[in-house]
Symmetry: C3
Subunit: 362 residues, 3 copies
């Protein structure tokens, strides 16, 4: 069961630049497009005329038009026009609250009246010119919570990413995990280590020596419904570690937006935000390429794990200290999903009560 009353990253602007985009999110098939005045809209991907996917159509004069028989839609899901037809009595389709912010399109798959753009995860770096961002998108055939587990326990880097960011010292440094409200933080600090290849390159990219011992940190923050931002970095040893002055460290934020497609598939928006050399587009491209290769290493493992778990649905897994990040994140999610269900039941009861009162008075 997904948290429906929440903002998920749906796509990036380039994906809707040329034509509408069909994408399934939390089991809902949606079509995203840029309509009048460039405002993004999201509708059910189902033409009310004959059921064709609207994502096979195109945008004409700011209106989404079905590519089968030309029915034009308004961004609120009502029909706008159709040649030779009066559309006033046509049934509407569902429209989804959608906001373009921080370089992403965010969608709210739940109750539209509860959608508050102020609840979109605040990304300070996305609006700060001192920072640069690069990222990509992968489709993975696994429950998005397996990716939460993955990202909230970086022990796996030692094995899955042995040749890039993994190193034995990661698993030797036990993580500390805590839940603060709806946020879960799991952090690891390593001292006097040799920087692994990815970080040696980052130090060089940042104009720093890469052949000295370093301190390294990983601070993973989960926030609902499925965002994980990880502060990562290295500093020359003895300069203060995480708190070292900028001239001794290379650091960045690993950005992970996990958007469920179905119960066993997901869209993985990954990227890195950095506050050094933000104007260096070539550096952005090379970091993106390196990160893309590393993150692709997780895919086969996650899909094989999903297959094993689907075949063994009742089998209990271990919950070790290293798994606390994932375990606590899932607990937060379960609590919020339960609250959402309770809230929905309450509103339904209230609405039934109101109608009963009205009827009695009428």
């Amino acid at each position: 069961m997904f948290l429906k009353n929440a903002w998920y990253v749906a796509c990036t602007p380039d994906e809707i630049a040329e034509k509408p985009l069909g994408r399934q999110i939390c089991n809902e098939r949606m079509v995203f497009y840029r309509g009048k005045d460039g405002v993004v809209a999201a509708l059910e991907d189902f033409c009310p005329h004959r059921g064709a996917p609207l994502s096979l159509g195109w945008v004409e004069q700011g209106e989404l038009m079905c590519g089968y028989h030309g029915l034009r839609m308004n961004p609120d899901g009502t029909c706008s026009s159709m040649v030779g037809q009066r559309v006033r009595a046509f049934p509407s389709i569902r429209s989804f609250p959608v906001v373009e912010r921080y370089g992403f399109i965010w969608v709210w798959p739940g109750d539209a009246e509860l959608a508050d753009p102020a609840k979109i995860h605040h990304l300070a770096w996305a609006e700060d010119p001192a920072w640069a961002y690069g990222g990509g998108l992968y489709h993975i055939n696994c429950d998005f919570r397996l990716m939460i587990d993955n990202l909230m326990d970086l022990t796996h880097e030692t094995y899955v990413h042995a040749t890039s960011i993994g190193q034995a010292e990661i698993e030797e440094a036990p993580p500390a995990t805590r839940t603060i409200g709806d946020e879960v933080v799991t952090s690891r600090y390593m001292h006097n280590i040799k920087p692994p290849p990815f970080w040696a390159a980052a130090l060089r990219g940042n104009g720093l020596a890469d052949d000295v011992l370093c301190d390294r940190w990983q601070i993973c923050r989960f926030t609902p419904p499925s965002h994980i931002l990880i502060e990562v970095g290295v500093a020359h040893a003895g300069k203060g570690g995480y708190d070292a002055p900028p001239e001794f460290k290379a650091s960045s934020i690993v950005v992970d937006f996990l958007t469920p497609e179905t119960e066993t598939s997901m869209w993985y928006f990954w990227g890195m935000a950095r506050n050094f050399k933000p104007e260096d587009a070539q550096l952005t491209a090379s970091i993106r390429e390196g990160q893309g290769k590393i993150f692709a290493e997780d895919l086969a493992m996650l899909e094989a794990q999903q297959r094993n778990l689907s075949e063994n649905p009742d089998r209990k897994l271990l919950k070790l200290n290293i798994d606390s990040g994932g375990v606590q994140s899932r607990e937060v999610l379960e609590r919020l999903v339960a609250a959402e269900a309770a809230e929905r039941a309450k509103r339904m009861a209230a609405s039934v009560g109101a109608r009963a009162t009205q009827a009695a008075a009428g």
Copy 2:
């Protein structure tokens, strides 16, 4: 539920020229082959010996032979011979009434005793040397009735085929639809229009000016179980339109035989019959190529529509005036399917009654 007591196009002669052809029609797996004296036969695609598909075998001395262990079949579904075996007591398999006519192989998937070749759709042009025909075959993953809807409402040409036969004037001309017995006719007439690219080429191919205003017509005729023949053409404006003398018009018949494979897949035999320059094989080839490209544009839309409808089985679709052709065709089909079921029930009751009378008398 398919209409079973009806003639469907099963294949074309070239498909059985080299070896037997396995094809599923109305959920029945069949094998088609050319047996003794070149007569076409259709059997269940299931060897009574060990269940291998007979379509993997070959024809030897006019008999279909299983490619696994060599059982030879008669065209009536009885076993003919097998080396070292007495086949008299072998179980028979089902044989299907089949007729070769008009350049197609026609099959009757229902009760064999009701199969009357006289009921095969009469195609006058197929036997008239003044006409030429060219066509092809597509496999589509959709309910064949979605293709009936498609062909009985050519509004979609404006959108799906915007660059070839589509033009805004089509949807601006409201169609007139009527059911006459079991036939449904939906027709559209456009006046003083610029001929779209396909028709401009046809005018030129016919030795006529293509840069003058024209009248255009589309008369779609549905006949059960799933044949749609569409009279289409353009005439220089003011010369009588549909009734203009031959020297002012280019016209033809779009031929569509829709053969269900399963509930959600079909074989689409498409083609064009024309009564100008019938001897021009190059023109036949170029029309066939153009038509093939245009008709391929429908495939992605129909398969995506099918996926949407399969996921939303209870959702009501709109039935606009432009949809009347499809709606009325489906009504004819439903009426005939119900009649077929009633007829079958009646025959079963009669047969039970006859046996009871016999038993009482015995």
Copy 3:
């Protein structure tokens, strides 16, 4: 239902030379690897930590290590170690009895306490330097019993392998089939025939004339759970046939180990053992290539037959004299599967009784 208490060929040593091998056998997902001192082990392909397939990991210092978070396994299914963790209380996973013998890895998917290596099919030729062996592996989407039928009735060679080992004389020679204990033998003898292409080449390879009439034999032996070894050969006519002295014949053993993957898929280990020119590696390679091509001809037929049977589960097939080999082999299998179920029920009752006695005494 598979016979579980039996030795199946799981893989060949080259398949685990570089890394662990994941393979499903009798519905069980297993991982095979070479551990300490080169001893082969087989475990469930499911890491007790988070369910990742262990086959995506690697072997380190003789221990199988999960490639996700580094849990190390012992060959008995207990956990050996994990960095930063005490694994003593970790749950074990299932380990499967496994033996390397005759150039194959053999696995016992049933009750481990019943696994007796002495029950592995004895292959005298595999340990005799006068013999050479070459073979390969195919994956086929069919019930392994369809392959038993195939190999226990070589009539199909006349049709499926018409251009290599098939010839009309095969089906003209009726086979004799008998069950001896758990073994089924079906044999065919042909006299004064022209050797087919494969055997003509074998005669030449053996330094014998290939343009003379020959006697030919095929003696298929089925032993449970799914091994079929076929003595095949040709001798110059009139020299004693099967019993002819070596200088007049070319003979070999076709080796077929059928390992069920699921109810409708299997691993097919095929090969040929010969006792002529055993040192000639090029001959081994060329026989292997030829046999590989011939055996590949069965795949399409078997998969199509499986599809037909899956669609028609209740349809009775014929059981002719030529089918006796398959029929009797299946009868042996059914008898053993029933015995295995009865044995298991008996042991469970005994164990319940023992506990009851203990409880009463306690």
